[in-house]
Amino acid sequence: MSLIRYQTPELSNWSSIDRLASFRDEVNRLFDFTWPSRDSGLFSGWSPALDVADDKDNLVVKVELPGMKKEDINLSLHDGVLTVSGERKHEREAKEGGTFRSERYFGKFQRSVTLPSAVDANKVNASYKDGILTVELPKAEEAKPKQIAVNVS
């Protein structure tokens, strides 16, 4: 299954020659859309894409959050669950004239991921660059792979 985020549908018909592609994306989104869980407490239409990678010593979590302010992103770690939340604020309103396309989502979001191994919460490091949040979580000592030397005498 491909994971494609649900996006707000187009509001108007700004003439665009990639209409077929947009339509295909729209159909894909329909099939992939799932209602956000109620217990998140937020009815969010924005579910930023999240990746988790594992090198030997760290977990690396990346979240696509284009156009945010650093201070509007919140990170928390509790019981092995990393939660990224925040709010993207509307900067530009159509004052006169009109809105020809409105596909970007503004408002609150929240994503949580259960980390696949124990991490050292005191050494977590996060950076935000080119609209991508990267969180590096060093694994706890007991979760790191260990080389065991076997002495044959």
């Binding site: 665009s16 999240l50 990678a53 090198d55 156009g67 004239g97 970007r104 991921v113």
Partner: protein, 129 residues
């Protein structure tokens, strides 16, 4: 719907490196009209200034965003993002003065100012006695 228009999501690869087609993501865009023209915003997380390629030709605006190279970090446990580059084409309103179009990108959001030509701006005509 005009089926003869090209599909920007899959274009024949310019470099013959094995695969015959290149996949692109369609960046999400907002377009609003202001007094002086249009403002276009497009979301391209992972793209910085050096990865942008914007062209205006025959009344069409084409935006291509190449992701900044990042070395893969370990084994992928879970993945939702798609590592393709971005591409989208818009047909420009003929009133836009293409010589004065400006673009900047900040935290993965491209913002373009597309000013209208002076000649098409509404002008108030003074009526003399």
């Amino acid at each position: 719907m005009n089926a003869t228009l090209d599909n920007p999501q899959s274009k024949p690869a310019a470099n013959g490196n094995g695969s015959s087609r290149v996949n692109y993501l369609t960046p999400l865009a907002n377009i609003v009209e202001t007094k002086d023209g249009y403002v276009l915003e497009a979301e391209m997380p992972g793209v910085n200034k050096d990865g942008l390629d914007i062209t205006v030709e025959n009344g069409e605006l084409t935006i291509v965003g190449h992701r900044a190279a990042t070395e893969p970090r370990g084994r992928e446990v879970y993945r939702e993002s798609r590592a393709f580059d971005y591409r989208r084409t818009f047909e420009l309103d003929p009133s836009i003065d293409t010589t004065r179009v400006t673009a900047r990108i900040d935290q993965g959001v491209l913002t373009m100012q597309l000013p209208k030509a002076e000649s098409v701006k509404p002008r108030k005509i003074a009526v003399h006695d």
